[in-house]
Every structure is written in C-alpha cells, then in structure tokens.
C-alpha cells in the first residue's frame, strides 16, 4: 500500500472506532474526518479513502451515525456525518474496551512501570 513507512495501516474495526471518536467533536464531512484522524495521530495514521468511505457508509447503515447534505465554509455542498445516540453509546463501550486493551498491552510492554494514558 502507498504511504510512508512511518504510517500505520488501520485494522478494520479500529477504523470504525476512530471515526466515531472523531465525530464526537462535532459533525464532519469525509475529507474532514480523514484530516482529523491524520492530525490527531501526529500524521501517523493514514486512512485510505477506499476504507474510509465504506466505513462511513457501513456505520450509517448500522445507524451509529447519520448523514445529511450541508454547505462547507466555502459554500461547497458536502455530506456531513454526525453521531447518533446509538453511536454515542457504542463509542463509550468501544472506548472502555479499547482502554482496557491498551492498558493490558502497555503492561506487557513495560512491566515495572505503571500505567499512563495515551
């Protein structure tokens, strides 16, 4: 896959979680979601559009997010995605799961040192 070596490909499932997390900051269009993921991960996470749009549509279909057409700041017609109540609930559950997992992995990687949130 194209992209620099420092970039990490996202696992399926992880992408869904990250999208939900990103939309927590407010409604956003596809390009914005990709930009935010990239920015928030210090350019580490590269989202392939071939994964992003299927994921957005999949989440929409699962009613975790919904979408409507809107105008961007520059007057461009864009499709804006927003978390639904179900999406918020799922996000909380996923977050808990994810935190426990990262803690566990951190524990394995650094046995003596105590936890820290990333």
């Amino acid at each position: 896959m194209s992209g620099g070596q420092s970039r990490i490909e996202l696992l399926q499932g992880t992408l869904d979680f990250i999208i939900l997390q990103t939309l927590r900051w407010g409604p956003q269009h596809g390009f914005g979601v990709a930009q935010m993921i990239r920015a928030h991960s210090n350019e580490t996470l590269q989202v392939d559009t071939g994964s992003l749009y299927p994921a957005l549509h999949r989440l929409e279909r699962a009613k975790l997010i919904d979408a409507k057409w809107d105008r961007s700041d520059k007057g461009q017609r864009v499709r804006v995605y927003r978390l639904t109540a179900a999406g918020r609930k799922r996000l909380v559950a996923e977050r808990t799961k994810w935190e426990r997992m990262t803690q566990a992995i951190a524990g394995i990687l650094n046995p003596p040192i105590a936890e820290g949130e990333s």
Binding site: M1, S2, H29, G30, F31, A34, Q35, D48, T49, G50, S51, Y53, P54, L56, H57, R58, R61, W69, S72, K74, Q76, R77, V78, R79
Partner: protein
Amino acid sequence: MRWLWGRPRRDAELAEEIKAHLEMAVAQRIERGESPAVARDNARREFGNATHVAEVTREMWGGASWRAFGRDVRYAARGLRRSPSFTAVSVLTFALAIGANSAVFSVARAVLLAPLPYASPSELMRLYGADVKDPTSRWPFSPADYLDFTAQQQSFSALGALETTTATWLPEKGEPEILSPLYVTPNLFPTVLRVPAQYGRSFTVDESENGKDHKVILAQRFWQRAFGGDRGAIGQRMQLGGDSYEIVGVMPSSFSLGLNEDVYFPLGFGDAMADAVRARKQHYVHVVGRLKPGMTQAAARADVQTIAKRLEREYPESNSDRTVSMMSLHEWLVGDTKRPIVLLQAAALFVLLIACANLTNLSLSRAMGREREMAVRAALGASRGRLARQLLTESVLLAAAGGVIGVLVATSATRVLLAINPGALPRIFTVSIDTQVLVPSIVASILAGGLVGLVPALGIARADLHGSLKEGGRGASGGRGGERVRRVLVVAQIGLAVMLLVGSGLLIRSFEKLTGASTGFDAEHVLTAQLRAGGARYDSASAVNRFYDDVMRSVAAAPGVIAVGGVSILPTQGNVGTSLRIQGKDVDEGRLPDLGYLEVRGDYFKAVRGRLIAGRLFENSDRADGPTVALLNETAAKRHFPNGDAVGARVRIGPDPKSQPITIVGVVADMRDVGSGAPTRPTIIMNHVQQTWDRSLSIAVRTTGDPNSAAAALRRAVKAADPLLAIRNVETLDDVLSSSLAPRRFSLGLVATFAAIALTLAAIGIYGVLSYAVTTRTREFGVRIALGASTHSVLMLVARQGLAWAVLGLTLGIAGALAAGRLIAGMLYGVGALDLWTYFAVAAGLFVVVAAACLLPASRATHVDPLTAMRAE
C-alpha cells in the same frame, strides 16, 4: 425501502461526495502553496482510484446481492472480452458438451421419462404369454385364453386387446393404398386406456365382431392426411379392403398405440371361439390391462399366473408349460430402444465431465496467470470471497453462454438425426426440445460452470496473494496444490476417454462383424415392395394365386428383370412362429418345438440369391391342389434332423394335430431374419401358392441394373392385375438391410463421436498441463542443459510425465470399462465385452495421441536456451 428506491440517486450522491472530497483536498494543497496542477495530481494520487472507492462503498449499501451479482457479471464479461481465445475455447467446449447432453436427453425424456398419452399411464400393463421353460419368450394370447383371463382376473379394472392387420384403402380420388389398421376391443379406448375419441365416438360393445358392422375410427395423422382435418369426415364412408366402412370417430393427435396405425376396427372373438382349434391354439391377441388403483404389479402378476396354472390343468393339450407375465405398457413400448438411449446418455455425460475437467484445467492456468491481477485487487480492498465469486461468475457465464449455443445446436442436431433415422423411435414418443429439456440443460450448464469455477475459486480463497505480489507475480504460490489438482484432472479425463473409446471400439467391432457376417442373401440389385390381395374379391385361394401370378409374370417380362419372387416377411424384418410335429417321432403335445414360419412364392430364392443346400426348391409342379411341400432352413434341419434326413421327412405344423401333412423337399441356407443379428430362428418355409391365407406378400425383383428401374413395371403390373389394389414400401433390398442396421449405426455413430471428442479434449488437457509444467520449469531445464543433459534425456523427462498419466488413466479407464461392461454387453454382436483386440487398439491409439500431445511441450523443453533461462531471474 429507501435503500432500494433511491439507488440511482445514491450513486449520484456518492459521486458528489467523492468529488467534494477531492476538491477540498485540492483547495487545501493550493493553500499550502502547491500549484493547482500539482495539487490536483497529488490529491488524486492520495485519494486513490475513485471508481474503486465508489465501488467498495456501494458494496456497503448491501440490500440487493443481485446488484452485486450484476456487477460481477459485468466484470466477468469485461474480463472474458479481454481474452477472446480462452472465451471461445471455453464456450465452444461447453456448447459441445451441453449440446450433446441436451440432444440425447431430449430423446431420453421423450422415450423414458415422459408419461404415455393415456390417463394414469402407470396403471397400464402389457400382458403376454410366456413359455415356462423360457421366461424370456413372449407370446400373444389365444382368443379363448384372453376371454378366460378377462373373466377370472381380479387385479385389473379392465383388460383390452388388439390385433394388427393390413388393408387396402381406395380413396375417392387417387391411387389405392395399403394401410395398417388395428383391431381393438371396444373397451380399449374408453375403459382401458381412458382416451375418448376427439371427434365422434369410440366403438360400442355390439360393434365388436371383426368389422361386421363396417365401422372405423381414424387415427389423427391419417385423418389429417386423408380428410385434411375435416370434422365432416365423421359419418362419411371409406372403401377399405373392398368394403364400405362408416367413420364413427377420430382419435386425438397425441394418441397412438405405437404401431404406426392408420385406422381402427372393432375386435371380437365370436368367429374365433366357434372354431375349437383356433380358439385356444392360435396366439394373435395382444393384451393391455389397467391395474385397479393401488394394485401392485407383483400382486397382479401372481393373480394372472394362478389363472394360467388353472388353464394349464384344464387345457393341457394347448396350455401346458404356458404361463403369463406382464410389464408396464411403457416398458413394452420402449423395448429395445432403452439400452442405446441409456448408453448414449452415459456417453454424453462423460463428455460433459471431461469437458468440465478440461475447462477446470484451462481456468486454473488462467487463474495462475492472473494471480498478480488478483493480488493487486486484493490489495485494493477486494475481499477473497469477492475474488472467488468473481472467478465463479466468469465460469458460470461461460457455461451459460455455451449452454445456450449448445441447446440451439442440439435442437437442430436432434431434428437432423431423427430425420436421418425415421424408424429409430416408435412414433408414440415425440421428441421435442421444450422446457422439460431446457431447464435441465440450463441447470446442467450452471452446475458445470460452477464445478469448473470451483477449483480456481478455492485456490484464490486460499492462495497467498500478498506473497505472489512480492514475488513479482511469477506465480510460485498456489502452484503446488493447483498442479496436483490439474494432474488428477488430466488422469481422470484420460480414464473417462478410455471408457468411451472402449465402448465405441466394441460397437465398431460389432458393427463390422455384423456387416461382414453373411446375411444368407444378396441385397444388391433387388427391389422390394409390399402387396396385399385382401377383401371379399380375394376370399378364395385361386383368386389370390391368380393375382400374384399375374403380377409376377408381367414384372418378370419387363426388361432388365432377372427373377421375381414373393415372401411373407423380407429378410431382417422379423419372424413369426408356429410349432412343429415330425411324423414318426414321439410328440409331447404340450412341448412342441418352436419354429419360425415363412411363405415364399415364385423365384424368390433366385431373386435374393438364397442358397439351396439339399433337395430342391419349389417348382411349378407344386400346385395349389397338389401335396403340400415345404423347405427348412439350415438351422431347423440341423436341429430337428441331425442325421441329415430332413429331405423327404413328413411333418405337421401349428396347433392342430390333424392338420395337412407336409413333405420337406429341400433345405436352404439361413437368411438373417432380425436386424439385431441374433441367431436365425429355425424356420419352415412354405409355398405361398399352397398357403394363401396370408394375403400380404413382399415382392422381390432382381434386376440387371438399377433396381429402382423395376418400380414402374411393378406398379403397372399391379394396376393391370387389379386396379383397386396398391403397393407400398417400395425400396431396394439394400435399403431394407441398411435400415435394419440403422439403430445400431445411429448409436454407434454418436458414441464414436463422443469418444473422439473425449480423446481430443483429453489430449488438449495433457498438452495444456505439460506446457504449463515446462514453462514453470524453464530454469531447471536451462540448468540441466547447461550441465550437459542430452536432448533425448530432456525430451524423455517431459514425455515420461505425460506417458505416466496416460498409463494411470488407461488403467483406471480399463477398470471402469470392465465395470461398465454390462451396460453395453447386450448391444454387442460377435465380440465379448472383454474383447482384447479392442482394448489393445484403444491402448495403442491412446499412446499415439498422448505422445503427440507430449511432443510439442517436450521439444520446447529441449530448446530452452540455458543463458536466457538463467538471465530471466
């Protein structure tokens, strides 16, 4: 629902969404200081393939898998267009295999599967008499037996009977014509077969005395031909056998008793029962019964056999050692055609299997060649399932296309085949390609396509696609397993081809033996035709004799005619039976030896060049009122007069012990009496001059040149002798002989064609797999040649592989052929199912073909340039 309704709009929206994404990316890059052109390029590169993104996104919508299927089909069609030769070969192979199956199946369905055109046909049984010692023998009933069974049986709701005959029809306009009427008991149509007349009515019970009321029912085909389908024909009269008959009904078009009958007369037994000898000892009544609902065949058979035992005790003189058996009417009508049809269907299925194996190989090669393409698509996000489905769709598409073409081909092929072999099937079975043939053909196509696509699809599902991408797509992965499958398929193909080759080899040998075997007659330069002198004007022997003498005399006088004779049944056209008593030998009344019965007239033996072995032929001095004389054929003479004292012996024939004694005056060589080539029946040959009760006679005319030149003279002679009489079946004896071989030639031709296709496909299969193996081993061969391997050793390296498959396939094929021998055994003549010569020829032929298929890849291996091969790394 919105998901379905809004589909086109959603497509547009997705396109817009993607476009917006790209525009925003471009705008952002321009803001960062990139030039618009560079920004556009970079944004597009970063985004990736927009079409692909749209496609995988659309997949998320789900909801309608048929849409995904439609997309797969479009992709498949696009992919197939890109490799036209692969597509052409695949479609052609499928077309051939499906076409062969559809064609044979259309016949198999009509004959074996379709119900007979009667109500509840499964209840209908054909009853026949059988010899206790020879259960395979089949006799018609005697009238008295038929009436006894009708009265005593408890298993059938009704029994009915029929009898065959011929009659001359004198149309109001045109020439007289010989028809084939059937006598039927009045209950046969309404009660037994439960088929009412389409127009008019069936016979009434009081019309049941053989034609005395002069009523006739028309078969649909005859009605169409003679009356142009005019319903006004009912109530009209027609001239049959010199009498005027009233037409009372017309049968429906699907109706037939399978005997090519034209009209029906009512059948009764009053006259027959009045004559004690005729009543119980003459067997001419064909019996059909309808089982009571719920009655099993076994129970019904037990019932009638109990009655047969009772009749044996009551009438030992006529009925001892006689029993009764039955089979379904369908089975009876199918008769001998079942075996070749089953054989042909099996052969066609083999061709389909071989075609599938071959195409699997072909698509495996193609899949291996496309590993890189598949890997790229997988990397772009296509799931394995998706890719596998893609491959399956491709092969199903190919099979469907092949199937459609195949069915079209089959439609015309069936028509042509049946047109070439008009007598191949009883007319009751109508072959047509309709939905009941189309649906199985389409299902078979799809299954075959699925089968062919399955192996490559599984391969894709398992293959290490990323690995193949890294390796630069040289396709090392998936190769091992794939290769093994391909070898198994090649061996299986050879095995199946060998089975077909053995089968067709045995049939060819049989045909060769049958055509090479002596028929006992010389068919060249002989014209034959059927005559009938029937009706009231011919109720005396002298009238019959006068007619035939007149005809034969004037034909003999025609130019180019060497000899003219007559015979009751032409060679190869069957036989009828009687029984024999030899004077001076003890006679066991119940066990009279069975004897075929033939009548000849004039110079028959000279006309067909039959050979006299002992004594003399009939002469003019054997007059109608003189002592009765007869000839025996060689088989009869040897069996009953092993000491060679047949000539001069005195015998009686038939059921009546006080019948006219007959003196045997000569012995003639056997003539083939049935087309199948079964041994000639021991036969007594009577002089028609003295035995005129058979009013029909086939005339045989030997000519110096073209036998057809005698046809006009024959017609003229009949017209001159009696303008109200007709001739029919004017054909050369060569044609008669040839059509007696037609069913055999028909199935032989098809099986041999199938075998040839099978062998070709197997050879292509070997060639393909070896070629591929050579390509993948180019480097190895390069090294070997560089290390000094001789051309010969490299050649053998490749050829040995192909030959090893051939040996394995041959072994399996021979084992299969031996196991399937029973299927074909009944169709052989003069060779056993284990005919060594055939097996040897098949093996030799196979090795020649396999060697040829190995040659090209093997020689390519020897021409590998070591330097190029290594540099290619």
